[in-house]
C-alpha cells in the first residue's frame, strides 16, 4: 500500500469518526429535548384541563352580576326617579353620571342633581330627628341644622336612660323560617274539610 492510499484512508476514517461523535452527541441532546417537551406537554395539558370550565363559570358569574345590577338600578330608579338616581350615583362616584345607568340609556342625557351638595329630603328628615345623619345642613350655604360634632344630645333625648335596663337579659329575637332551629309540628287538620258534628236530636 502506498503512502498516498494510507493518507486517503486515514482521512476517510477521521471523517467517519467525526460523523459518529457529532451525530451521537446530537442524538443525546435531541433526547433531552424530547424529555423536556414531554414535561411541557404534560403541564400544558394540565393548564387546558384546569382552565376548561373557567369560561362557563365566569360567564355565569357575569350573568348573575348583570342581573343584580339590573335589579338594583331598576329599584333605584323606581324609588328615587331617574334624575335623582343618577344624582345619587354621581354623588357616590363623581363623574359616574356621564356613563349613566346601564339599563337606562336615556340616563346619560340626564342633568344630575348635585345630591352630594344639595341634600335629599330623607337626609334632612334624619338630621332634623337628631339621628346620626352624616350631613346635617339644609343647603350648602346655609347653617347646619344640628352640630355634627356635638349633636348627640338630640339622640340622647330619644333614649334618656341610655340602653334599656336588663337589655342583655332579654331573649334574643326568634329565628323563623324553614331552617330555623325551632320547628313546630303542623296541625293535621289544616287544609282538611271542616269537621261536621252529628246533628242534635231534639
Amino acid at each position: 500500500m502506498s503512502a498516498a492510499a494510507a493518507v486517503f484512508i486515514l482521512a476517510v476514517v477521521l471523517i467517519v469518526l467525526a460523523l459518529v461523535y457529532f451525530l451521537v452527541s446530537t442524538i443525546l441532546e435531541l433526547r433531552k429535548i424530547v424529555a423536556g417537551l414531554d414535561r411541557t406537554i404534560e403541564h400544558v395539558g394540565g393548564i387546558v384541563e384546569k382552565s376548561a370550565p373557567v369560561n362557563d363559570v365566569v360567564n355565569t358569574i357575569n350573568e348573575h352580576l348583570d342581573a343584580g345590577v339590573a335589579a338594583l338600578e331598576g329599584l333605584l330608579v323606581k324609588k328615587a326617579g331617574l334624575r335623582d338616581a343618577v344624582g345619587l350615583v354621581d354623588g357616590l362616584y363623581p363623574g359616574a353620571a356621564a356613563d349613566g345607568l346601564r339599563e337606562f340609556p336615556e340616563s346619560t342625557s340626564v342633568t344630575a342633581p348635585r345630591i352630594g351638595e344639595v341634600y335629599t329630603r330623607g337626609t334632612l328628615t334624619l338630621a332634623r330627628l337628631g339621628r346620626e345623619a352624616p350631613i346635617a345642613a339644609a343647603s350648602p350655604r346655609g347653617p347646619a341644622i344640628r352640630d355634627a360634632l356635638y349633636g348627640s344630645a338630640a339622640s340622647r333625648k330619644l333614649y334618656p336612660a341610655g340602653r334599656e335596663q336588663g337589655a342583655a337579659a332579654l331573649p334574643a329575637s326568634p329565628v323563623i323560617g324553614a331552617d330555623s332551629p325551632e320547628q313546630y309540628e303542623r296541625r293535621d287538620d289544616i287544609g282538611q274539610p271542616r269537621k261536621r258534628f252529628p246533628a242534635k236530636q231534639s
Binding site: 482521512a11 457529532f22 423536556g36 394540565g46 323606581k78
Partner: protein, 88 residues
C-alpha cells in the same frame, strides 16, 4: 499516484473540516434548544400550578348566586316598604 495524493489532500484538508464544522453547528444548535425547552417546561408547570385556584371559581359562583338572591330579597322588601318616586 499524483491523483491519489490530490484526492487524499482534498479529503483531509477540505472535506473533513467542512464536515466537522457542519456537524458541530448542528450539535451546538441542539444544545441551545435544551435550556429553552427546560425553561418552557418550568413555565408551563408554574402556570399549571397557578391554575389550581381555578376550582375555587365554583365556590365564587355559588357565593355570587347566594349574594344576588339576597340582594333580590332585600330589593323586594325595599320595594314594599319604600314609596315609588313621584312620576315626573
Amino acid at each position: 499516484m499524483t491523483g491519489l495524493w490530490i484526492g487524499a489532500a482534498i479529503v483531509g484538508l477540505v472535506v473533513l473540516p467542512i464536515v466537522v464544522v457542519l456537524l458541530k453547528g448542528v450539535l451546538d444548535a441542539a444544545k441551545s434548544i435544551v435550556p429553552a425547552v427546560d425553561s418552557i417546561a418550568a413555565t408551563a408547570e408554574a402556570g399549571s400550578k397557578d391554575l389550581d385556584a381555578a376550582a375555587l371559581l365554583l365556590t365564587t359562583q355559588e357565593q355570587v348566586k347566594q349574594t344576588i338572591a339576597g340582594v333580590a330579597a332585600y330589593g323586594g322588601s325595599l320595594d314594599v316598604i319604600l314609596d315609588d318616586a313621584d312620576p315626573a
